[in-house]
Symmetry: C2
Subunit: 278 residues, 2 copies
């Protein structure tokens, strides 16, 4: 998906919501938890169809599928195929946090971006340039971990580095701008760091940011939006558990619709207040 198409979708739907597809079998309604992997499949596809009107992106996290072994990996193929067919204008992100030496990253890129046909993949920067570059395939996106939403982001990402004394996450971003550009590179920046988000927006003005950590992890949608929106919107805000496991009873779809539509409405208001939509 091209940058302009993504922005167009966001403006049309008045939503920059990304729904994280991280199915936890312990939180499924009884009718689905009793039928194994078929229940997970039905859960994921129904959640996707129900929330599609309110979001512009879906983000399955691979851990929650690998936990089911080969069947789980097969389910990723089914989900990707389903979204391509029924929701072709949604941006499809593989939350896989891969990164390895060059020839190995190339195999991950082939597996996830080409064969599974995801639009984008989250990539860990630790191994540097040759571990990241193989993911820049034609028409695909790298979403590089910059400042993550978890507590452990304090351990290394915020350390001041080198001559500049800038935090590592800024150094990661500065390097990455030499590997990609605003049309194939985004950054992961957690909602749990509102002050740093403002700084990141100043330094990386035109880059899209994928922002997890709203909801269950404690970030505020209004606050992160005010810190990080730019004149092309420039953010995707992810919610996973807060939407898909908003209920673990048989009304899970109604509750997911409610949670995602409420986020969409809040986003619409924020966009209107910023003059991004009328």
């Amino acid at each position: 998906m091209k940058l302009q198409s993504l922005i167009q979708q966001i403006l049309q739907k008045r939503s920059y919501l990304c729904v994280g597809i991280d199915p936890d079998e312990k939180l499924l309604p009884n009718s689905l938890s009793s039928i194994g992997i078929a229940g997970i499949e039905k859960f994921c596809l129904s959640i996707i169809d129900a929330t599609a009107p309110f979001c512009v992106a879906f983000k399955p996290n691979f851990a929650f599928f690998e936990a089911f072994g080969a069947d789980g990996f097969g389910l990723l193929e089914i989900i990707s195929g389903h979204i391509r067919k029924k929701h072709p204008h949604h941006f499809l992100i593989a939350d896989a946090k891969r990164g390895d030496i060059g020839n190995t990253s190339a195999r991950y890129a082939e597996a996830i971006l080409t064969k599974l046909n995801f639009d984008a993949i989250t990539v860990s920067p630790y191994m540097g340039e040759d571990s990241v570059k193989p993911f820049f395939l034609e028409g695909k996106w790298v979403i590089l971990l910059m400042l993550t939403s978890n507590k452990g982001s304090e351990n290394f990402q915020k350390l001041s580095v080198g001559m500049s004394g800038e935090p590592l996450y800024v150094e990661v971003g500065r390097n990455a701008m030499q590997w990609g550009n605003t049309e194939n590179l985004m950054f992961v920046t957690g909602a749990t760091h509102p002050d740093e988000l403002k700084k990141i927006r100043q330094l990386f003005r035109d880059y899209f940011l994928l922002i997890p950590g709203v909801g269950a992890q404690g970030g505020s949608l209004l606050e992160v939006s005010q810190s990080a929106l730019n004149e092309s919107v420039g953010i995707l805000v992810n919610s996973s558990r807060g939407i898909i496991h908003s209920s673990s009873a048989e009304d899970y779809l109604e509750q997911a619709v409610l949670a995602s539509s409420m986020m969409q409405k809040e986003m619409e208001e924020i966009m209107r207040s910023k003059g991004l939509v009328q």
Copy 2:
């Protein structure tokens, strides 16, 4: 596998060789490349059986399996089962370089260490403590990326950080020693950094190091051994392509035996010269 068992295996076999199982379908002999995933399976299992006498560990890299989708993931299950049954004293490393927020890392740990039953997993440190700790399951090992063998290791891993001015890779190691210990934590340190290996050995004296980058990537077995051996051996040296794809003709097994047995012999000589074996 316990630390003492691993050391015992190394001393008995006079080998600290880890064979990397990274099958590239373009480098298979014709008889195997023509039959799809069944050829990959036959290749991997025959390589494992042929090289088992000369090595103490096997390390499949997940990228080379995910490239075959659900079938590839299924093949990882077959490989793990095969090794557990036929080579129960070999140390089985998942080269997966995972790492995510806590609840997600826990799912990766479940998928790879519990369900696939690997002994150890390589983990990326970028997301910090809560992304690493879920992998410390009872009887399992974390092998944390410290200083990798690729060129991109220069980008971030060698930056001096914080008050100490130590390079990031040292800071990673120092933090990790608070999360694990010598009986459940190893570090990945590339063979392509012989000078840094000496420093790492001094700073992390009793920790096992997993050393990739010998052979195709340019590191020297003798040099890295001299830099990094400790009184309990303390290293696993990995070779992947240099062994498994040493020939792409029908004699691939003979050539893999030749390459792995030569490395074992060189290791035996080095261990003898250090007084580690008689």
